[in-house]
C-alpha cells in the first residue's frame, strides 16, 4: 500500500518524500475546487516530484455547470502539463472527456454515493484501460472494502486522515459578509482568492464548522477531522493501492515527523503522538461501522404500518355517538349491507362490526358502495378519523 498526500508547493515535495509518501496529489486553484496552488507552480511541482521518483496526480474535482466544462477544458489544455501520472475526476463529464479523448490515466472519485459493488464495477467497466484507480467513498466500511478489492480489477484508494468535506455548492455564500453593503438584493462578485471562517449553530450538536469560499463555490467541513489509523490491521487487510492523507491545514515538521514514525511503526504510542500533534479532534468516521441508516426506523413512516390485504378505505370523519364516514379507496372492493368490517384505529386498537345500515352523503339509505364513494355508518366507540377499514 502506498501513501498519498496533497502537495501545495515545490518545497513540500522533498518533505513529503522524507515522511514516507510516494504519491502526491496536486490541487491547483484553477483546477480543483478548493486547491490553492497557482498555475505557475504546477509544472515545477510535477518536475520536482518526478526528480524525486514520486508519482504525481492532478486533482480535477470540480463539478462543472454547462459551458464551464468547455472553458475548464480549454484552460486545462492551455496549461500543457507534462509528466504527471494521472488526473483525478469527480464530474462524470470530465470522466467522459478524459476516457474518450485523451490517453491519460484516470482516477475516478466515487466519494459521493457509490455504496455498492455493482456501481463500482460499472464505473470501472466504463473504461477499463483508462480508469486506473477508484477513490472510494469515506462512508464505506472496512469489511465491504475487503470484498471490493477482491472483485474489482483496478487500484482502490481510501481517505485515511484529514479534513472532512461535508457540503459543496457553487453559490458564493460567504463573500457577501465581506462587503460593506446594505442592500440584501444586491449581487456580489467573488473577488477574493480564498475565504475561510468558522460557523456555529445552536441547532447542531457540533461547533466551529470550517467554512470556505473559493471562486468555485462554498464548502463546509466537519469540525472534527478523520483518522482511520486506529484500524491499521483492517486497513492492511483491505489490500488497498493507496491511503490518502490531507495535511494541508496543518502542514509542519512536527506533523510530518509523527506521521513518519507511525508509518514506520504503526503502534498505538506513535498514533497517540500523531493525534496529540494534530490541532483538531479526530474521529474514526464510518470505516469500522456505518450505522447512519439505523435511525430511519424512528422517522415517521405510517406507510410501514399499513396492512394491505382486504383494505377497503379510511374513516375520514366521526361524530361521536352519531355517525362515521368511510371513503372507499380500494378499487376492487364493494361494500354492501351484511358485510363485516374491521376497523384499525391509529392507536392500533381493532374493532369488528357488521354493516346493518348505510347512507350516502346526501343522507339517503343505500345498499352498496364502491371505489370513490363515501359511506355514512352509525358511529362505533373507539373509531376515530384516520382509522383504516378492512373487509373481514
Amino acid at each position: 500500500m502506498k501513501y498519498s498526500s496533497f502537495v501545495e508547493d515545490v518545497q513540500q515535495v522533498k518533505e513529503l518524500k522524507a515522511a514516507g509518501f510516494t504519491e502526491l496529489v496536486l490541487a491547483a486553484s484553477s483546477l480543483s475546487r478548493f486547491g490553492k496552488t497557482k498555475d505557475t507552480d504546477i509544472q515545477p511541482i510535477i518536475d520536482e516530484a518526478k526528480a524525486n521518483d514520486l508519482q504525481v496526480f492532478i486533482e480535477l474535482d470540480r463539478i462543472l455547470v454547462g459551458s464551464e466544462l468547455d472553458l475548464f477544458l480549454r484552460h486545462w489544455q492551455s496549461l500543457n502539463l507534462k509528466n504527471f501520472d494521472a488526473v483525478r475526476v469527480l464530474d462524470p463529464g470530465l470522466l467522459e472527456y478524459f476516457c474518450a479523448e485523451t490517453d491519460l490515466s484516470v482516477h475516478f472519485n466515487s466519494e459521493m454515493g457509490n455504496h455498492n459493488l455493482s456501481a463500482l464495477k460499472h464505473w470501472q467497466n466504463y473504461s477499463k484501460e483508462k480508469i486506473k484507480r477508484i477513490i472510494l467513498c469515506p462512508e464505506l466500511e472496512a469489511e465491504k472494502i475487503k470484498e471490493y478489492t477482491k472483485e474489482l480489477n483496478c487500484e482502490l484508494e481510501i481517505y485515511g486522515f484529514g479534513k472532512i468535506l461535508l457540503f459543496y455548492t457553487p453559490r458564493h455564500l460567504l463573500s457577501p459578509y465581506f462587503e460593506n453593503h446594505e442592500d440584501p438584493a444586491e449581487k456580489f462578485v467573488f473577488n477574493k482568492e480564498y475565504i475561510e471562517i468558522l460557523g456555529n449553530s445552536e441547532e447542531s450538536p457540533h461547533k466551529a464548522f470550517p467554512l470556505v469560499e473559493t471562486k468555485c463555490g462554498s464548502f463546509m467541513f466537519s469540525p472534527k477531522d478523520l483518522c482511520v489509523l486506529d484500524y491499521w490491521q483492517d486497513i492492511l487487510e483491505c489490500n488497498l493501492a493507496s491511503l490518502r492523507f490531507d495535511l494541508r491545514d496543518n502542514f509542519n515538521k512536527e506533523t510530518l515527523s509523527s506521521i513518519t514514525k507511525f508509518l514506520e511503526e504503526p503502534e498505538k504510542k506513535n498514533l497517540k503522538t500523531l493525534k496529540d500533534t494534530w490541532p483538531k479532534t479526530l474521529i474514526r468516521g464510518f470505516f469500522k461501522a456505518n450505522k447512519s441508516d439505523v435511525l430511519f426506523g424512528n422517522l415517521k413512516n405510517v406507510g410501514n404500518l399499513k396492512k394491505e390485504e382486504n383494505y377497503l378505505g379510511d374513516v375520514i370523519e366521526t361524530k361521536s355517538g352519531v355517525h362515521l364516514v368511510i371513503e372507499i379507496k380500494s378499487q376492487n372492493s364493494l361494500l354492501s349491507l351484511g358485510k363485516k368490517l374491521s376497523f384499525l384505529a391509529p392507536d392500533k386498537k381493532a374493532k369488528e362490526v357488521e354493516v346493518k345500515q348505510m347512507k350516502n352523503l346526501a343522507g339517503e339509505l343505500i345498499e352498496e358502495a364502491s371505489f370513490g364513494q363515501f359511506v355514512m355508518l352509525p358511529h362505533y366507540s373507539g373509531v376515530s378519523s384516520n382509522t383504516r377499514v378492512y373487509l373481514v
Binding site: 463539478i63 462543472l64 455547470v65 454547462g66 464551464e68 466544462l69 462524470p92 463529464g93 467522459e96 472527456y97 459521493m112 454515493g113 455504496h115 455498492n116 455493482s118 456501481a119 463500482l120 460499472h122 472532512i164 468535506l165 461535508l166 457540503f167 455548492t169 457553487p170 453559490r171 455564500l173 457577501p176 459578509y177 440584501p184 438584493a185 444586491e186 471562517i197 468558522l198 460557523g199 449553530s201 441547532e203 447542531s204 450538536p205 457540533h206 464548522f209 472534527k224 468516521g285 464510518f286 447512519s292 430511519f296 422517522l299 415517521k300 413512516n301 406507510g303 399499513k306 394491505e308 370523519e317 361524530k319 364516514v325 379507496k329 380500494s330 378499487q331 352523503l361 363515501f374 355514512m376
Partner: protein, 397 residues
C-alpha cells in the same frame, strides 16, 4: 410540443389531487429506496391503484429510487422492480449507477437519472445516456440556456425543476447529516442542516465579528415567469418539488403551471400581466420567498436568506370538496373556517372568484358557524358552476 408537467405525489390522495389539477405525470416513493423516509409514501397496493388512476386519465407515474443503495438492498430491488413493472410504472428515477444497471437488467422500465446525480454538462449527459438513462433530471444549478445547449448536443430527454424547495448543495454532494446527526442524507436521512441559523465569525479590523445568519438557506424556486423560455429551450418535463407539501400547495402550484402551459398550448402569448396574475395565485399559500435561482444566470446572493427565513403565509387550506350536489358543496374540513370568511376555490377556471355562502351544516343537518378539522360539512352556496369534487378550498389568513 408542450413539455410534461410533473408533480409530486406524497401519497395516494395527493396523486389524485395532482392529476386532477392537471399534472401530466406524477412521481412518488415506495416504502424503500427513496430519499423521503419521513414521507407517507406508497405500498404496493396503493401503487397499483395510483397507476391505474393515472393511466385512466392519460397521466404517467414515475417511482423514485434515488437513494444510494448498499449491496444488500440492491439484492432486494429486483423483486420490487417486478411489482413496479406489473403495476405499469412508466419510469424510475435513479441516481446510483448500481441501481441503473439493476433496473435495466431486471425490467423494461425506463430509467430517468435523478437530480441527485448532479448531471450538469453535456459530457455528463452523454455518459449517463451511454449508461442507459433515457431522461436526465438536470441539477438545479444549470440555466435554461445551458440546458438548451445540452439538448442540442445530446439526444436525450431533459427534465428541469421549475418550482419548489432547493438543495443548497449540489444535490448528492452533502453529507452534513451523516457526520452531525448520524443519518445518511443520500439515503433518506437529510436533517436539513442548511436551514439552520449559523453564527459566522467574520474577521474585521477590530477583531472577530459574530454575525447570525441563515447563510445556507435557499429561497424557493419559482419559474412561472420563465415558463415560455422552458418551452422554447425544448425542456421535456417541468418538475414541481414537494412530496412532503400539503394539498393547498399541490393544487395551487400544479394548477398554476397547468394554466400557463395550456395558454401556451393554445398559442396565446403570456404577457407579464397574465403571468403576474398566475404568480399572485401561487403566493396564496404558506411559502418561502421566491427566487428564479439559476434559471437565467448563476444564482446570486439574493437567492439566499441572510436574515431569518420568513415563511409568507397569506392563505390557509379550508378543506377538500368531496361532492358537489346542485348548490351544495360537501367538503372535508381541514381547519377552523368560520362562516362569513372569504372562501376561494383553488380552481383556475374560477380564478379570483370567491364563494358566497350563508348556510353551513354538519352531515346530520346540525347548523354550524365554524368548522372543526376532519369533519364533513355541507355548504349551501351560489355561483359554484365549475367546482369539482377534489377541488381545494382556501381562505385568507
Amino acid at each position: 410540443m408542450l413539455p410534461e408537467l410533473l408533480s409530486p405525489a406524497g401519497n395516494l390522495e395527493k396523486l389524485k389531487i395532482a392529476i386532477n389539477y392537471g399534472a401530466d405525470a406524477v412521481y412518488l416513493g415506495l416504502q424503500k429506496f427513496g430519499l423521503r423516509s419521513a414521507a407517507e409514501n406508497f405500498n404496493i397496493s396503493e401503487l397499483n391503484e395510483g397507476v391505474q388512476y393515472a393511466h385512466q386519465r392519460n397521466a404517467k407515474v414515475f417511482v423514485v429510487l434515488n437513494a444510494y443503495l448498499h449491496d444488500k438492498e440492491l439484492q432486494e430491488l429486483p423483486a420490487y422492480l417486478k411489482e413496479m413493472e406489473k403495476a405499469g410504472v412508466d419510469a424510475v428515477i435513479v441516481s446510483d449507477l448500481g441501481v441503473v444497471k439493476c433496473v435495466l437488467n431486471n425490467s423494461n422500465i425506463p430509467v430517468h437519472l435523478s437530480t441527485q446525480a448532479s448531471c450538469l454538462n453535456y459530457r455528463s449527459a452523454k455518459l449517463w445516456k451511454d449508461m442507459g438513462a433515457e431522461r436526465i433530471v438536470l441539477g438545479r444549478e444549470i440555466s435554461l440556456d445551458q440546458a438548451a445547449k445540452i439538448k442540442e448536443k445530446v439526444d436525450i430527454e431533459l427534465e428541469m425543476f421549475i418550482h419548489g424547495s432547493m438543495c443548497m448543495a449540489y444535490s448528492g454532494n452533502c453529507v452534513i447529516s451523516n457526520y452531525t446527526q448520524g443519518r445518511d442524507s443520500n439515503r433518506g436521512g437529510c436533517a436539513h442542516s442548511c436551514r439552520f441559523e449559523y453564527s459566522l465569525e467574520i474577521p474585521k479590523e477590530n477583531g472577530i465579528e459574530k454575525t447570525n445568519s441563515f447563510f445556507m438557506s435557499s429561497k424557493d424556486l419559482n419559474g412561472i415567469m420563465q415558463i415560455q423560455k422552458f418551452v422554447d429551450c425544448g425542456i421535456d418535463s417541468l418538475k414541481i418539488e414537494g412530496r412532503m407539501k400539503n394539498h393547498l400547495y399541490l393544487s395551487s402550484i400544479t394548477g398554476a403551471y397547468r394554466k400557463a402551459l395550456d395558454a401556451i398550448g393554445r398559442g396565446e402569448s403570456l404577457n407579464q400581466e397574465s403571468l403576474s396574475e398566475i404568480f399572485t395565485e401561487m403566493t396564496k399559500l404558506a411559502h418561502r420567498e421566491y427566487t428564479e435561482a439559476s434559471l437565467l444566470e448563476a444564482a446570486g446572493s439574493d437567492s439566499v436568506y441572510r436574515e431569518r427565513e420568513k415563511a409568507i403565509n397569506t392563505h390557509k387550506v379550508v378543506g377538500k370538496i368531496l361532492e358537489v350536489n346542485g348548490n351544495d358543496i360537501i367538503f372535508l374540513s381541514k381547519s377552523n373556517y368560520e362562516l362569513g370568511q372569504s372562501l376561494e376555490p383553488v380552481n383556475y377556471s374560477m380564478m379570483g372568484k370567491s364563494i358566497q355562502s350563508k348556510k353551513l351544516q354538519e352531515l346530520d343537518g346540525e347548523l354550524a358557524t365554524k368548522c372543526k378539522p376532519n369533519r364533513i360539512y355541507r355548504l349551501n352556496a351560489e355561483q359554484i358552476t365549475g367546482l369539482r369534487a377534489g377541488d381545494i378550498l382556501r381562505t385568507p389568513v
